[in-house]
Protein backbone atom coordinates (compact mmCIF):
# COMPACT_ATOMS: atom_id res chain seq x y z
CA UNK A 1 0.00 0.00 0.00
CA UNK A 2 2.69 2.48 0.98
CA UNK A 3 4.85 1.66 -2.00
CA UNK A 4 1.88 2.17 -4.24
CA UNK A 5 1.14 5.53 -2.69
CA UNK A 6 4.71 6.66 -3.14
CA UNK A 7 4.49 6.11 -6.86
CA UNK A 8 1.13 7.78 -7.34
CA UNK A 9 1.12 10.89 -9.51
CA UNK A 10 0.95 14.23 -7.75
CA UNK A 11 -0.59 17.35 -9.10
CA UNK A 12 1.63 20.00 -7.66
CA UNK A 13 4.58 21.13 -9.60
CA UNK A 14 5.71 24.00 -7.37
CA UNK A 15 8.00 23.19 -4.45
CA UNK A 16 7.06 24.48 -1.02
CA UNK A 17 9.75 25.01 1.66
CA UNK A 18 9.88 21.69 3.43
CA UNK A 19 10.37 22.97 6.96
CA UNK A 20 6.86 24.45 7.09
CA UNK A 21 5.17 21.08 6.96
CA UNK A 22 4.90 17.78 8.63
CA UNK A 23 6.94 15.09 6.77
CA UNK A 24 3.71 13.52 5.46
CA UNK A 25 2.72 16.87 4.02
CA UNK A 26 5.94 17.34 2.09
CA UNK A 27 5.38 13.92 0.58
CA UNK A 28 1.99 15.21 -0.54
CA UNK A 29 3.52 18.22 -2.18
CA UNK A 30 6.29 16.57 -4.14
CA UNK A 31 6.39 17.23 -7.84
CA UNK A 32 4.28 15.04 -10.07
CA UNK A 33 6.29 12.25 -11.68
CA UNK A 34 5.92 11.81 -15.39
CA UNK A 35 3.33 9.45 -16.78
CA UNK A 36 5.83 6.69 -17.54
CA UNK A 37 6.05 5.89 -13.85
CA UNK A 38 2.39 5.03 -13.63
CA UNK A 39 1.63 1.37 -13.28
CA UNK A 40 -0.32 -0.05 -16.14
CA UNK A 41 -3.24 -1.50 -14.30
CA UNK A 42 -6.31 -2.52 -16.21
CA UNK A 43 -9.77 -2.05 -14.86
CA UNK A 44 -11.69 -5.22 -15.68
CA UNK A 45 -15.36 -5.86 -15.28
CA UNK A 46 -16.36 -9.46 -15.78
CA UNK A 47 -19.97 -10.61 -15.94
CA UNK A 48 -20.98 -7.60 -13.88
CA UNK A 49 -24.68 -7.34 -13.09
CA UNK A 50 -27.06 -5.51 -10.83
CA UNK A 51 -30.79 -6.06 -10.48
CA UNK A 52 -33.33 -3.80 -8.82
CA UNK A 53 -36.27 -6.07 -8.14
CA UNK A 54 -37.00 -7.75 -11.44
CA UNK A 55 -35.26 -5.11 -13.57
CA UNK A 56 -31.73 -5.88 -14.62
CA UNK A 57 -30.17 -2.42 -14.60
CA UNK A 58 -26.79 -3.80 -15.57
CA UNK A 59 -26.75 -7.21 -17.17
CA UNK A 60 -23.62 -9.30 -17.63
CA UNK A 61 -21.23 -6.51 -18.58
CA UNK A 62 -17.63 -7.47 -19.32
CA UNK A 63 -15.12 -4.76 -20.22
CA UNK A 64 -11.38 -4.31 -19.99
CA UNK A 65 -10.32 -0.70 -19.68
CA UNK A 66 -6.57 -0.17 -19.91
CA UNK A 67 -4.91 2.60 -17.99
CA UNK A 68 -5.09 6.03 -19.61
CA UNK A 69 -8.03 5.39 -21.91
CA UNK A 70 -10.80 7.94 -22.41
CA UNK A 71 -14.00 5.89 -22.55
CA UNK A 72 -17.44 7.27 -23.29
CA UNK A 73 -20.52 5.32 -22.24
CA UNK A 74 -23.61 6.16 -24.27
CA UNK A 75 -27.16 4.88 -24.37
CA UNK A 76 -30.63 6.19 -23.74
CA UNK A 77 -31.99 7.07 -20.31
CA UNK A 78 -32.41 4.01 -18.15
CA UNK A 79 -29.91 1.97 -20.16
CA UNK A 80 -27.84 1.35 -17.03
CA UNK A 81 -24.99 3.81 -17.66
CA UNK A 82 -25.23 5.45 -14.26
CA UNK A 83 -25.56 2.14 -12.46
CA UNK A 84 -22.48 0.85 -14.30
CA UNK A 85 -20.35 3.76 -13.08
CA UNK A 86 -21.67 3.49 -9.54
CA UNK A 87 -20.89 -0.20 -9.53
CA UNK A 88 -17.27 0.57 -10.33
CA UNK A 89 -16.76 2.74 -7.23
CA UNK A 90 -19.15 0.52 -5.28
CA UNK A 91 -21.69 3.24 -4.50
CA UNK A 92 -23.98 0.45 -5.70
CA UNK A 93 -23.18 -3.17 -4.85
CA UNK A 94 -23.16 -5.63 -7.75
CA UNK A 95 -25.47 -8.65 -7.57
CA UNK A 96 -23.28 -10.71 -9.88
CA UNK A 97 -19.85 -10.56 -11.43
CA UNK A 98 -16.51 -9.17 -10.47
CA UNK A 99 -14.53 -5.95 -10.75
CA UNK A 100 -10.77 -6.01 -10.59
CA UNK A 101 -8.03 -3.44 -10.90
CA UNK A 102 -4.69 -4.98 -11.78
CA UNK A 103 -4.68 -8.05 -9.58
CA UNK A 104 -6.86 -6.51 -6.86
CA UNK A 105 -10.39 -7.78 -6.45
CA UNK A 106 -12.44 -4.62 -6.04
CA UNK A 107 -15.71 -6.43 -5.35
CA UNK A 108 -14.24 -7.91 -2.16
CA UNK A 109 -13.05 -4.62 -0.63
CA UNK A 110 -14.44 -3.54 2.74
CA UNK A 111 -14.09 -0.68 5.20
CA UNK A 112 -10.92 1.35 4.83
CA UNK A 113 -9.80 -0.48 1.67
CA UNK A 114 -13.13 0.29 0.03
CA UNK A 115 -12.88 3.95 0.98
CA UNK A 116 -9.35 4.08 -0.41
CA UNK A 117 -10.63 2.56 -3.65
CA UNK A 118 -13.31 5.24 -3.86
CA UNK A 119 -10.61 7.84 -3.35
CA UNK A 120 -8.61 6.24 -6.19
CA UNK A 121 -11.49 6.35 -8.65
CA UNK A 122 -12.92 9.81 -8.21
CA UNK A 123 -16.43 10.55 -9.41
CA UNK A 124 -18.14 13.64 -10.70
CA UNK A 125 -21.91 13.85 -10.98
CA UNK A 126 -24.55 15.40 -13.19
CA UNK A 127 -25.81 17.53 -10.29
CA UNK A 128 -22.24 18.25 -9.04
CA UNK A 129 -23.07 16.96 -5.52
CA UNK A 130 -21.28 19.78 -3.76
CA UNK A 131 -22.24 21.03 -0.33
CA UNK A 132 -23.90 24.33 -1.26
CA UNK A 133 -23.51 25.91 2.16
CA UNK A 134 -19.77 25.23 2.46
CA UNK A 135 -17.18 27.38 0.73
CA UNK A 136 -15.55 26.21 -2.49
CA UNK A 137 -12.20 25.45 -0.84
CA UNK A 138 -13.76 23.18 1.79
CA UNK A 139 -15.72 21.43 -0.93
CA UNK A 140 -12.45 20.69 -2.71
CA UNK A 141 -10.82 19.59 0.55
CA UNK A 142 -13.55 16.95 0.87
CA UNK A 143 -11.39 15.10 -1.65
CA UNK A 144 -8.77 14.70 1.09
CA UNK A 145 -11.15 13.14 3.62
CA UNK A 146 -10.21 9.54 2.90
CA UNK A 147 -6.81 10.23 4.46
CA UNK A 148 -8.25 11.93 7.54
CA UNK A 149 -8.95 10.55 10.96
CA UNK A 150 -12.16 11.03 12.94
CA UNK A 151 -11.09 13.97 15.08
CA UNK A 152 -9.54 16.15 12.38
CA UNK A 153 -12.46 15.62 10.04
CA UNK A 154 -15.07 16.36 12.72
CA UNK A 155 -13.22 19.60 13.44
CA UNK A 156 -13.05 20.25 9.65
CA UNK A 157 -9.34 20.81 10.08
CA UNK A 158 -6.97 20.52 7.14
CA UNK A 159 -3.23 21.10 6.96
CA UNK A 160 -1.61 24.00 5.11
CA UNK A 161 -0.24 21.50 2.62
CA UNK A 162 -3.73 20.22 1.87
CA UNK A 163 -5.05 23.72 1.42
CA UNK A 164 -2.17 24.38 -0.98
CA UNK A 165 -3.08 21.33 -3.03
CA UNK A 166 -6.72 22.36 -3.06
CA UNK A 167 -6.09 25.93 -4.13
CA UNK A 168 -3.74 24.72 -6.89
CA UNK A 169 -6.35 22.35 -8.17
CA UNK A 170 -8.83 25.24 -8.18
CA UNK A 171 -6.35 27.47 -9.95
CA UNK A 172 -5.79 24.85 -12.61
CA UNK A 173 -9.53 25.08 -13.34
CA UNK A 174 -9.48 28.93 -13.18
CA UNK A 175 -11.51 28.95 -9.98
CA UNK A 176 -9.00 30.27 -7.44
CA UNK A 177 -10.78 33.66 -7.11
CA UNK A 178 -13.94 31.88 -5.93
CA UNK A 179 -12.23 29.76 -3.25
CA UNK A 180 -13.90 31.45 -0.29
CA UNK A 181 -17.37 31.78 -1.80
CA UNK A 182 -20.17 29.44 -0.91
CA UNK A 183 -20.35 26.70 -3.52
CA UNK A 184 -24.10 27.28 -3.92
CA UNK A 185 -23.50 30.78 -5.26
CA UNK A 186 -21.55 29.56 -8.31
CA UNK A 187 -23.00 28.78 -11.72
CA UNK A 188 -23.51 25.21 -12.84
CA UNK A 189 -20.40 25.11 -14.96
CA UNK A 190 -18.28 26.53 -12.16
CA UNK A 191 -19.75 24.05 -9.70
CA UNK A 192 -18.88 21.18 -12.01
CA UNK A 193 -15.31 22.43 -12.22
CA UNK A 194 -15.20 22.64 -8.41
CA UNK A 195 -16.30 19.00 -8.43
CA UNK A 196 -13.46 18.19 -10.82
CA UNK A 197 -11.02 19.98 -8.50
CA UNK A 198 -12.38 17.91 -5.61
CA UNK A 199 -11.81 14.79 -7.68
CA UNK A 200 -8.25 15.90 -8.55
CA UNK A 201 -7.14 16.37 -4.94
CA UNK A 202 -8.13 12.76 -4.34
CA UNK A 203 -5.07 11.89 -6.47
CA UNK A 204 -7.18 9.38 -8.36
CA UNK A 205 -6.15 6.88 -11.03
CA UNK A 206 -9.53 6.71 -12.64
CA UNK A 207 -12.06 9.47 -13.17
CA UNK A 208 -15.70 8.44 -13.35
CA UNK A 209 -17.99 11.12 -14.73
CA UNK A 210 -21.73 10.50 -14.52
CA UNK A 211 -23.31 12.71 -17.19
CA UNK A 212 -21.08 15.63 -16.22
CA UNK A 213 -22.41 17.99 -18.88
CA UNK A 214 -26.10 17.04 -18.99
CA UNK A 215 -27.18 20.09 -16.99
CA UNK A 216 -24.75 22.57 -18.49
CA UNK A 217 -24.99 25.03 -21.36
CA UNK A 218 -22.79 24.38 -24.42
CA UNK A 219 -19.98 26.73 -23.35
CA UNK A 220 -19.67 25.24 -19.90
CA UNK A 221 -20.07 21.74 -21.29
CA UNK A 222 -17.06 22.32 -23.51
CA UNK A 223 -14.97 23.68 -20.65
CA UNK A 224 -15.80 20.66 -18.50
CA UNK A 225 -15.03 18.21 -21.31
CA UNK A 226 -11.76 20.03 -22.04
CA UNK A 227 -10.84 19.76 -18.37
CA UNK A 228 -11.49 16.02 -18.48
CA UNK A 229 -9.41 15.75 -21.65
CA UNK A 230 -6.50 17.59 -20.07
CA UNK A 231 -6.67 15.36 -16.99
CA UNK A 232 -6.60 12.36 -19.29
CA UNK A 233 -3.73 13.61 -21.44
CA UNK A 234 -1.54 15.42 -18.95
CA UNK A 235 -2.05 13.27 -15.86
CA UNK A 236 -2.62 10.00 -17.63
CA UNK A 237 -5.83 9.27 -15.77
CA UNK A 238 -8.30 6.76 -17.11
CA UNK A 239 -11.55 8.61 -17.77
CA UNK A 240 -14.90 6.88 -17.93
CA UNK A 241 -17.69 9.25 -18.84
CA UNK A 242 -21.43 8.79 -19.34
CA UNK A 243 -22.72 10.96 -22.12
CA UNK A 244 -26.07 11.78 -23.66
CA UNK A 245 -24.60 13.56 -26.62
CA UNK A 246 -23.14 11.56 -29.43
CA UNK A 247 -21.01 14.24 -31.00
CA UNK A 248 -19.34 14.93 -27.66
CA UNK A 249 -18.58 11.24 -27.35
CA UNK A 250 -17.14 11.17 -30.87
CA UNK A 251 -15.11 14.28 -30.21
CA UNK A 252 -13.48 13.32 -26.94
CA UNK A 253 -13.51 9.57 -26.49
CA UNK A 254 -10.90 7.06 -27.65
CA UNK A 255 -13.43 4.37 -27.19
CA UNK A 256 -17.19 4.35 -27.07
CA UNK A 257 -19.24 1.79 -25.19
CA UNK A 258 -22.95 1.78 -25.90
CA UNK A 259 -25.49 0.25 -23.57
CA UNK A 260 -29.08 -0.77 -24.02
CA UNK A 261 -31.26 -2.41 -21.37
CA UNK A 262 -28.24 -3.00 -19.16
CA UNK A 263 -26.17 -4.76 -21.82
CA UNK A 264 -23.22 -3.58 -23.85
CA UNK A 265 -24.41 -3.27 -27.45
CA UNK A 266 -21.36 -1.70 -28.98
CA UNK A 267 -17.74 -1.32 -28.00
CA UNK A 268 -15.38 0.40 -30.41
CA UNK A 269 -14.00 3.63 -31.80
CA UNK A 270 -15.98 6.67 -32.86
CA UNK A 271 -15.47 5.74 -36.52
CA UNK A 272 -17.03 2.34 -36.02
CA UNK A 273 -20.12 3.98 -34.53
CA UNK A 274 -22.16 4.20 -37.72
CA UNK A 275 -25.70 5.52 -38.11
CA UNK A 276 -27.06 1.99 -38.19
CA UNK A 277 -25.37 1.17 -34.89
CA UNK A 278 -26.70 4.39 -33.37
CA UNK A 279 -30.25 3.62 -34.49
CA UNK A 280 -29.87 0.21 -32.95
CA UNK A 281 -28.69 1.61 -29.61
CA UNK A 282 -31.26 4.30 -29.24
CA UNK A 283 -34.07 2.38 -30.91
CA UNK A 284 -35.34 5.61 -32.44
CA UNK A 285 -38.99 4.55 -32.11
CA UNK A 286 -40.55 5.60 -35.39
CA UNK A 287 -38.32 8.63 -35.77
CA UNK A 288 -37.33 8.47 -39.41
CA UNK A 289 -34.16 10.42 -39.05
CA UNK A 290 -31.99 10.54 -35.99
CA UNK A 291 -30.33 13.89 -35.77
CA UNK A 292 -27.20 13.99 -33.65
CA UNK A 293 -27.09 17.76 -33.62
CA UNK A 294 -30.43 17.94 -31.79
CA UNK A 295 -28.99 16.27 -28.71
CA UNK A 296 -25.75 18.18 -28.83
CA UNK A 297 -24.66 20.35 -25.96
CA UNK A 298 -21.17 20.98 -27.23
CA UNK A 299 -20.27 24.48 -28.35
CA UNK A 300 -19.83 24.74 -32.11
CA UNK A 301 -16.49 26.49 -31.75
CA UNK A 302 -14.03 23.74 -31.08
CA UNK A 303 -10.90 24.35 -29.09
CA UNK A 304 -8.08 22.95 -31.16
CA UNK A 305 -6.65 19.90 -29.48
Amino acid sequence: MTQRQASRPRYCSVKIPADNFHPDDTALLQARPSIEFMENYTLSLSGLGRSFGSTRAVDNVSLDIPSGQFVGVIGRSGAGKSTLLRLINRLIEPTTGKISFGDRDITALKGRDLRNWRRDCAMIFQQFNLVDRLDVLTNVLVGRLADHGFVSSMAMRFTDAERTIAIRALDRLDLAPFALQRAGTLSGGQQQRVAIARALVQNPRIMLADEPIASLDPGNATRVMEALRSINREDGLTVLVNLHTLDTAREYCHRIVAMRDGRVMFDGSALQLTDDVVRDIYGSDGLAEFNEAVTSTAARVRVPA
Partner: protein, 304 residues
Protein backbone atom coordinates in the same frame (compact mmCIF):
# COMPACT_ATOMS: atom_id res chain seq x y z
CA UNK B 1 -73.36 18.35 -24.52
CA UNK B 2 -72.34 20.34 -27.54
CA UNK B 3 -70.97 18.77 -30.66
CA UNK B 4 -67.43 19.60 -29.58
CA UNK B 5 -65.46 16.51 -30.46
CA UNK B 6 -62.86 15.57 -27.90
CA UNK B 7 -59.88 13.42 -28.64
CA UNK B 8 -59.88 9.99 -26.97
CA UNK B 9 -56.93 11.01 -24.76
CA UNK B 10 -58.82 14.06 -23.46
CA UNK B 11 -61.97 11.98 -22.92
CA UNK B 12 -59.94 9.46 -20.93
CA UNK B 13 -58.55 12.32 -18.87
CA UNK B 14 -62.07 13.67 -18.19
CA UNK B 15 -63.20 10.27 -16.94
CA UNK B 16 -60.12 9.79 -14.77
CA UNK B 17 -60.49 13.34 -13.44
CA UNK B 18 -64.12 12.75 -12.46
CA UNK B 19 -63.13 9.56 -10.64
CA UNK B 20 -60.28 11.32 -8.82
CA UNK B 21 -62.59 14.20 -7.82
CA UNK B 22 -65.25 11.84 -6.51
CA UNK B 23 -62.66 9.94 -4.52
CA UNK B 24 -61.16 13.03 -2.92
CA UNK B 25 -64.65 14.35 -2.06
CA UNK B 26 -65.50 11.05 -0.37
CA UNK B 27 -62.25 11.11 1.59
CA UNK B 28 -62.95 14.65 2.73
CA UNK B 29 -66.50 13.85 3.85
CA UNK B 30 -65.38 10.76 5.75
CA UNK B 31 -62.55 12.63 7.49
CA UNK B 32 -64.90 15.43 8.54
CA UNK B 33 -67.42 12.93 9.89
CA UNK B 34 -64.71 11.09 11.79
CA UNK B 35 -63.39 14.29 13.36
CA UNK B 36 -66.91 15.38 14.39
CA UNK B 37 -67.56 12.04 16.08
CA UNK B 38 -64.22 12.28 17.89
CA UNK B 39 -64.95 15.84 18.97
CA UNK B 40 -68.35 15.03 20.47
CA UNK B 41 -67.11 11.84 22.10
CA UNK B 42 -64.24 13.64 23.79
CA UNK B 43 -66.33 16.60 24.89
CA UNK B 44 -68.86 14.20 26.39
CA UNK B 45 -66.11 12.30 28.22
CA UNK B 46 -64.54 15.49 29.55
CA UNK B 47 -67.87 16.65 31.02
CA UNK B 48 -68.06 19.59 28.64
CA UNK B 49 -71.86 19.24 28.53
CA UNK B 50 -72.29 18.59 32.24
CA UNK B 51 -75.23 20.28 33.96
CA UNK B 52 -74.46 21.47 37.47
CA UNK B 53 -76.47 23.03 40.31
CA UNK B 54 -75.80 26.64 41.20
CA UNK B 55 -77.15 28.84 44.00
CA UNK B 56 -78.86 31.96 42.65
CA UNK B 57 -78.76 35.34 44.39
CA UNK B 58 -82.20 34.78 45.96
CA UNK B 59 -80.96 31.58 47.56
CA UNK B 60 -82.80 29.14 45.30
CA UNK B 61 -80.99 26.39 43.44
CA UNK B 62 -81.02 26.07 39.68
CA UNK B 63 -79.57 23.78 37.02
CA UNK B 64 -76.99 25.37 34.71
CA UNK B 65 -74.51 24.26 32.03
CA UNK B 66 -71.11 23.95 33.66
CA UNK B 67 -69.36 26.60 31.51
CA UNK B 68 -71.46 29.68 32.42
CA UNK B 69 -71.74 28.31 35.96
CA UNK B 70 -67.97 28.17 36.40
CA UNK B 71 -66.93 31.40 34.66
CA UNK B 72 -67.82 33.72 37.59
CA UNK B 73 -65.68 31.57 39.88
CA UNK B 74 -62.74 31.97 37.50
CA UNK B 75 -63.19 35.73 37.73
CA UNK B 76 -63.37 35.50 41.50
CA UNK B 77 -60.06 33.63 41.60
CA UNK B 78 -58.32 36.07 39.31
CA UNK B 79 -59.65 38.96 41.39
CA UNK B 80 -58.12 37.46 44.53
CA UNK B 81 -54.70 37.34 42.86
CA UNK B 82 -54.84 41.03 41.96
CA UNK B 83 -52.66 43.13 44.22
CA UNK B 84 -53.98 46.42 45.62
CA UNK B 85 -52.04 49.13 43.84
CA UNK B 86 -52.63 52.87 44.08
CA UNK B 87 -50.91 55.77 42.35
CA UNK B 88 -50.34 57.66 45.57
CA UNK B 89 -48.55 54.81 47.20
CA UNK B 90 -47.20 52.86 44.20
CA UNK B 91 -43.69 52.15 45.48
CA UNK B 92 -44.83 50.73 48.78
CA UNK B 93 -47.65 48.79 47.11
CA UNK B 94 -45.27 47.19 44.62
CA UNK B 95 -42.90 46.48 47.48
CA UNK B 96 -45.57 44.60 49.36
CA UNK B 97 -46.68 42.76 46.17
CA UNK B 98 -43.12 41.57 45.44
CA UNK B 99 -42.32 41.34 49.16
CA UNK B 100 -40.03 38.30 48.74
CA UNK B 101 -38.16 39.66 45.72
CA UNK B 102 -34.73 38.75 47.12
CA UNK B 103 -35.61 35.06 47.34
CA UNK B 104 -37.43 35.21 44.03
CA UNK B 105 -34.53 36.85 42.22
CA UNK B 106 -32.17 34.13 43.40
CA UNK B 107 -34.66 31.46 42.39
CA UNK B 108 -35.20 33.12 39.02
CA UNK B 109 -31.49 32.94 38.31
CA UNK B 110 -31.55 29.29 39.37
CA UNK B 111 -34.52 28.69 37.07
CA UNK B 112 -32.73 30.17 34.08
CA UNK B 113 -29.54 28.26 34.86
CA UNK B 114 -31.47 24.99 35.08
CA UNK B 115 -33.03 25.75 31.71
CA UNK B 116 -29.66 26.66 30.24
CA UNK B 117 -27.85 23.54 31.46
CA UNK B 118 -30.74 21.34 30.38
CA UNK B 119 -30.74 22.94 26.94
CA UNK B 120 -26.99 22.38 26.56
CA UNK B 121 -27.31 18.69 27.43
CA UNK B 122 -30.45 18.40 25.36
CA UNK B 123 -28.82 19.94 22.30
CA UNK B 124 -25.70 17.78 22.52
CA UNK B 125 -27.66 14.58 23.10
CA UNK B 126 -30.41 15.39 20.63
CA UNK B 127 -27.92 16.44 17.96
CA UNK B 128 -25.83 13.28 18.24
CA UNK B 129 -28.88 11.00 18.28
CA UNK B 130 -30.70 12.82 15.49
CA UNK B 131 -28.46 11.27 12.80
CA UNK B 132 -28.96 7.61 13.67
CA UNK B 133 -32.64 8.48 14.20
CA UNK B 134 -33.09 9.85 10.67
CA UNK B 135 -34.43 7.31 8.19
CA UNK B 136 -32.15 8.48 5.38
CA UNK B 137 -28.97 8.62 7.47
CA UNK B 138 -29.19 5.71 9.92
CA UNK B 139 -26.39 3.19 9.27
CA UNK B 140 -28.82 0.29 9.70
CA UNK B 141 -32.41 -0.33 10.73
CA UNK B 142 -31.55 -1.65 14.21
CA UNK B 143 -29.72 1.50 15.20
CA UNK B 144 -32.61 3.50 13.74
CA UNK B 145 -35.11 1.48 15.78
CA UNK B 146 -33.25 1.76 19.06
CA UNK B 147 -32.47 5.48 18.87
CA UNK B 148 -36.03 6.26 17.84
CA UNK B 149 -37.50 4.26 20.73
CA UNK B 150 -35.08 5.91 23.16
CA UNK B 151 -36.04 9.39 21.94
CA UNK B 152 -39.73 8.47 22.16
CA UNK B 153 -39.44 7.32 25.76
CA UNK B 154 -37.39 10.39 26.68
CA UNK B 155 -39.98 12.80 25.35
CA UNK B 156 -43.22 10.93 26.04
CA UNK B 157 -42.62 10.98 29.80
CA UNK B 158 -43.36 14.59 30.87
CA UNK B 159 -40.43 16.40 32.44
CA UNK B 160 -42.42 16.80 35.67
CA UNK B 161 -42.56 13.01 35.95
CA UNK B 162 -38.83 12.66 35.17
CA UNK B 163 -38.27 15.30 37.88
CA UNK B 164 -40.26 13.22 40.41
CA UNK B 165 -38.11 10.19 39.59
CA UNK B 166 -34.84 12.13 39.76
CA UNK B 167 -35.79 13.93 42.99
CA UNK B 168 -36.43 10.50 44.45
CA UNK B 169 -33.05 9.18 43.29
CA UNK B 170 -30.75 12.23 43.52
CA UNK B 171 -32.49 14.27 46.19
CA UNK B 172 -34.23 17.64 46.20
CA UNK B 173 -32.47 20.43 44.29
CA UNK B 174 -31.63 21.81 40.86
CA UNK B 175 -29.59 18.74 39.78
CA UNK B 176 -32.75 16.67 39.51
CA UNK B 177 -34.39 19.50 37.58
CA UNK B 178 -31.51 19.77 35.09
CA UNK B 179 -31.52 16.02 34.49
CA UNK B 180 -35.28 15.85 34.09
CA UNK B 181 -35.55 18.70 31.62
CA UNK B 182 -32.39 17.62 29.78
CA UNK B 183 -33.75 14.11 29.24
CA UNK B 184 -37.09 15.36 27.99
CA UNK B 185 -35.27 17.91 25.85
CA UNK B 186 -33.04 15.23 24.25
CA UNK B 187 -36.17 13.37 23.24
CA UNK B 188 -37.93 16.43 21.86
CA UNK B 189 -34.95 17.98 20.09
CA UNK B 190 -33.69 14.62 18.80
CA UNK B 191 -37.05 14.16 17.10
CA UNK B 192 -37.14 17.69 15.65
CA UNK B 193 -33.52 17.55 14.46
CA UNK B 194 -34.00 14.12 12.91
CA UNK B 195 -36.95 15.42 10.93
CA UNK B 196 -34.77 18.25 9.67
CA UNK B 197 -32.19 15.61 8.73
CA UNK B 198 -34.75 13.65 6.78
CA UNK B 199 -35.44 16.64 4.55
CA UNK B 200 -31.87 17.24 3.43
CA UNK B 201 -30.52 16.82 -0.07
CA UNK B 202 -28.63 13.51 -0.13
CA UNK B 203 -26.52 14.31 -3.21
CA UNK B 204 -23.70 16.10 -1.33
CA UNK B 205 -23.42 13.04 0.93
CA UNK B 206 -23.10 10.86 -2.15
CA UNK B 207 -20.32 13.12 -3.36
CA UNK B 208 -18.43 12.74 -0.07
CA UNK B 209 -18.99 9.00 -0.05
CA UNK B 210 -17.62 8.78 -3.59
CA UNK B 211 -14.51 10.66 -2.41
CA UNK B 212 -13.91 7.91 0.17
CA UNK B 213 -15.60 9.56 3.15
CA UNK B 214 -16.81 7.59 6.16
CA UNK B 215 -20.36 7.77 7.51
CA UNK B 216 -19.29 10.33 10.11
CA UNK B 217 -17.54 12.44 7.47
CA UNK B 218 -20.60 12.35 5.23
CA UNK B 219 -22.67 13.60 8.17
CA UNK B 220 -20.18 16.26 9.22
CA UNK B 221 -19.52 17.70 5.77
CA UNK B 222 -22.71 16.84 3.91
CA UNK B 223 -25.55 16.90 6.43
CA UNK B 224 -24.57 19.27 9.23
CA UNK B 225 -24.08 22.38 7.05
CA UNK B 226 -27.53 21.78 5.58
CA UNK B 227 -29.38 21.43 8.89
CA UNK B 228 -27.45 23.97 10.96
CA UNK B 229 -29.93 26.88 10.53
CA UNK B 230 -32.79 24.59 11.56
CA UNK B 231 -30.86 23.34 14.54
CA UNK B 232 -30.13 26.84 15.79
CA UNK B 233 -33.73 27.85 15.34
CA UNK B 234 -35.13 24.79 17.16
CA UNK B 235 -32.56 25.17 19.94
CA UNK B 236 -33.50 28.75 20.73
CA UNK B 237 -37.18 27.83 20.69
CA UNK B 238 -36.45 24.95 23.03
CA UNK B 239 -34.61 27.23 25.44
CA UNK B 240 -37.80 29.26 25.91
CA UNK B 241 -39.79 26.07 26.50
CA UNK B 242 -37.19 24.90 29.01
CA UNK B 243 -37.41 28.16 30.96
CA UNK B 244 -41.14 27.61 31.31
CA UNK B 245 -40.55 24.00 32.36
CA UNK B 246 -37.87 24.87 34.89
CA UNK B 247 -40.10 27.54 36.42
CA UNK B 248 -42.69 24.93 37.35
CA UNK B 249 -40.47 21.93 38.01
CA UNK B 250 -39.68 23.13 41.55
CA UNK B 251 -43.25 22.10 42.33
CA UNK B 252 -41.92 18.58 42.89
CA UNK B 253 -38.71 19.79 44.55
CA UNK B 254 -36.42 19.96 41.55
CA UNK B 255 -35.21 23.54 42.06
CA UNK B 256 -36.16 26.94 40.69
CA UNK B 257 -39.19 29.19 41.18
CA UNK B 258 -41.67 26.31 41.19
CA UNK B 259 -41.25 25.68 44.89
CA UNK B 260 -42.53 29.21 45.58
CA UNK B 261 -45.56 28.46 43.42
CA UNK B 262 -46.27 25.45 45.56
CA UNK B 263 -45.94 27.42 48.78
CA UNK B 264 -48.18 30.19 47.45
CA UNK B 265 -50.85 27.74 46.33
CA UNK B 266 -50.87 25.75 49.54
CA UNK B 267 -50.82 28.81 51.81
CA UNK B 268 -53.44 30.49 49.56
CA UNK B 269 -51.22 33.55 49.07
CA UNK B 270 -53.07 34.68 45.98
CA UNK B 271 -51.10 37.88 45.29
CA UNK B 272 -47.83 35.93 45.46
CA UNK B 273 -49.11 33.78 42.61
CA UNK B 274 -49.70 36.80 40.41
CA UNK B 275 -46.30 38.25 41.35
CA UNK B 276 -44.58 35.00 40.35
CA UNK B 277 -46.60 34.89 37.17
CA UNK B 278 -45.48 38.41 36.28
CA UNK B 279 -41.83 37.46 36.90
CA UNK B 280 -41.98 34.38 34.69
CA UNK B 281 -43.99 36.16 32.01
CA UNK B 282 -41.42 38.99 31.86
CA UNK B 283 -38.51 36.52 31.71
CA UNK B 284 -40.02 34.41 28.97
CA UNK B 285 -40.88 37.52 27.01
CA UNK B 286 -37.30 38.78 27.27
CA UNK B 287 -35.85 35.43 26.20
CA UNK B 288 -38.36 35.21 23.39
CA UNK B 289 -37.36 38.65 22.14
CA UNK B 290 -33.63 37.91 22.44
CA UNK B 291 -33.81 34.53 20.77
CA UNK B 292 -35.86 35.88 17.90
CA UNK B 293 -33.16 38.47 17.25
CA UNK B 294 -30.48 35.76 17.37
CA UNK B 295 -32.46 33.41 15.16
CA UNK B 296 -33.00 36.01 12.48
CA UNK B 297 -29.33 36.78 12.55
CA UNK B 298 -28.43 33.16 12.03
CA UNK B 299 -30.83 32.60 9.17
CA UNK B 300 -29.74 35.87 7.63
CA UNK B 301 -32.91 37.96 7.98
CA UNK B 302 -31.51 40.42 10.47
CA UNK B 303 -29.77 43.69 9.73
CA UNK B 304 -26.02 43.17 9.70
Amino acid sequence: MTSLSLSPAVQAFEAAYAVARARSRATWALTTLGLLVLFFASSYLSDFFKITQVTLSDGSRAERWIIPAGLPRLGEYLEKTMPSLSWANLGADLGSWFWAWRTWAVLLVETILIAFMATVFGVVGGFLLSFPAARNLAPNKWILWFTRRFLEIARTVPDLVWALIFVFSFGIGPLAGVMAIALHCIGALGKLYSEANENIDMRPLDGIKAAGGTWAQQIRFGAVPQVLPNIISYTLLRFEINVRSSSIIGYVGAGGLGQEFRTAVSLQEYTDLSALFVIIFATVMLIDYGSEKLRHRFIGLGVR
